[in-house]
Amino acid sequence: MRKRIDNVYRYIIIEGKKPIIEQVNMIESLFSEFMVITSITHDDYHVFITYEQEIDISFLDVILNISSDIFNDLRIYVSHYLDDLDRFKHQAYVLSKMKDIPFNKYVYIDDKVLLKTHLDVIDDELKRFILKKYAQDTLMHETIKGYLECNQNMVLAAKKLYVHRNTLIQRIEKFYQVTGFDIRQFQDAYLIYHFVK
């Protein structure tokens, strides 16, 4: 498992197709069986849970089971690590984007799914949401662009960018830790290329 960055948290949003207000207590007790919940809030259709530690449990399995136990279609958004971002602003943005995704299309939603479904409109907000602290970092953009345009060839890209191969590896790894997108993987590379091309 990759090392994660410190002093960060993650959060999940559980959304019901029908109101889930009656199930909030059940969801809280169920999730607290396998995670230390930092905070939990809810509205009629959503439960928001913040947590800090790594979870070695399939959220998808849990959510599918709750769905069949309470007879309500549910879906779950799992955030990547967050540090200096305003959580509520982040949450509101995710909710606004989730509205555009048909309910039964994805049960498990993360930043990759959000990006896949919103790739046609890349604005500053989406840029900040996906690239996080690298949204305005031109050096990182050029590094990624150079690497991807060398067909993910590390040696060639390092030569073209006038950096040591290890520096390049480090930058790509850092980008992965912060954003959750591993540009060494084709699908992630494809999605991220739209931001730096």
Partner: protein
């Protein structure tokens, strides 16, 4: 155990898309009904309407003669097994099976009794303390079923529960599901796009396409007497062969250079449906095309000279593919024939097993007894006059 009645059920989504049209079906107690059809045909939507996960736009749904349209899903006394055989990963098998009952605030001893009983039925008793990751795929699937069984639901709804399993396990679980159904006899509605699952498991199959029911019947009935071209092509592997041509007044079916003699009873059907000298589709299943001498002697008028395009040896049989007047035709013949690509050979069609379809309506031509009686009566009256 329960009966279900679906009366004129329609599903129209808020964006105006209609997913299910006038769905009418009576499901008998203890039946194992399979909804089958291609993706987007409305089978899952219908199941979800029965579960109460989707609202019914119009029509009536009865469970045991009680109208349940406005009943909350949890009050319908149904249990659903989803596409994924997901379990709570952090819980033991026992807790996974007990969780739904705990939610319903059942007493502990009742929960224990029900879980033990279900575990016994499913052969899971030795694994009750294990966590899902320590189970095989088949065992996990059985636990998922156990979660449904413990609820003592009147109806089981299963939405492609085997689709995530590998091919071998799927075959094994098919058998287990049939055995389980025979044991607990709960009315079950099972959704799949896999026609082999439908054929092997169902008491009755509901074939759907574009939101409409195409045919309802026992597997054998649907296989032997498909109502239309869609059902004929959808049920059966390899699918039924279709050859377009026409039948003349001398009982000869012609398609390009190929001619086939039509048996008397089939000719009567064509005649009664006024399809003589009109474009018609001949449908014949691959297993009803033979290369044995004895069949050729029995149907001398239905022997075709062909060139083998592809020969697939499957072990006990060989599927050979050829082209008849531009139509791809498959024949399942005995593997001992030793056929190879490019071989020239003769094939005989068992014409008593073939069907004829109207290419316009796509319906199978059938003999209407009433029409025949009527015609005979008119003829008799004419003679008397």
């Amino acid at each position: 155990m329960a009966t279900l009645k679906l009366k004129d059920i329609n599903k129209i989504y808020p964006n105006g898309v209609q997913a299910v049209f006038d769905f009418n079906l009576d499901i008998r107690d203890k039946e194992f009904i399979v909804f089958v059809g291609p993706s987007g045909c409305g089978k899952s939507t219908t199941l979800r309407m029965i579960a109460g996960l989707e609202e019914i736009s119009s029509g009536e749904l009865y469970i045991d003669d009680e109208l349940v349209n406005d009943k909350a899903p949890k009050d319908r006394n149904i249990a659903m097994v989803f596409q994924s055989y997901a379990l709570y990963p952090h819980m033991t098998v026992y807790d996974n099976m007990a969780f739904g009952l705990k939610l319903r605030k059942m007493p502990k001893d009742v929960i224990n009794e029900k879980v033990q009983e279900a575990a016994e039925i499913l052969g899971l008793t030795p694994y009750l303390k294990r966590k899902p990751k320590a189970l095989s795929g088949g065992q996990r699937q059985r636990v998922a079923l156990g979660r449904a069984i413990v609820r003592n639901a009147k109806v089981f709804l299963m939405d492609e529960p085997l689709s995530n399993l590998d091919a071998k396990l799927r075959v094994q679980m098919r058998g287990e599901l049939i055995k389980l159904h025979n044991k607990i006899e709960t009315t079950t509605i099972y959704v799949t796009h896999d026609q082999i699952e439908a054929m092997t498991m169902a008491s009755r199959i509901v074939v759907m396409k574009d939101g409409y029911i195409m045919q309802v019947g026992a597997p054998k009935e649907i296989y032997d007497n498909p109502n239309n071209l869609f059902v004929a092509g959808f049920i059966g592997t390899p699918p039924m062969n279709f050859i377009t041509g026409s039948v003349n007044g001398k009982q000869i079916f012609t398609s390009g250079n190929h001619t086939i003699k039509v048996p008397d009873d089939k000719f009567e059907i064509i005649k009664q449906n006024a399809m003589i000298d009109k474009e018609i589709v001949l449908g014949i299943r691959p297993e009803d095309i033979h290369d044995e001498e004895v069949v050729m002697e029995a149907y001398p008028g239905a022997v075709l000279d062909i060139i083998v395009d592809v020969a697939e040896l499957l072990g006990s049989e060989t599927n050979i593919y050829t082209s008849i007047n531009g139509h791809n035709v498959c024949a399942s013949i005995n593997a001992r024939s030793g056929v190879r690509i490019g071989d020239k050979m003769k094939l005989a069609l068992d014409m008593n097993k073939c069907h004829f379809f109207d290419p316009q309506s796509e319906q199978r031509l059938v003999f209407d007894q009433n029409k025949d009686v009527k015609a005979k009566r008119t003829k008799k009256e004419e003679v008397q006059e």
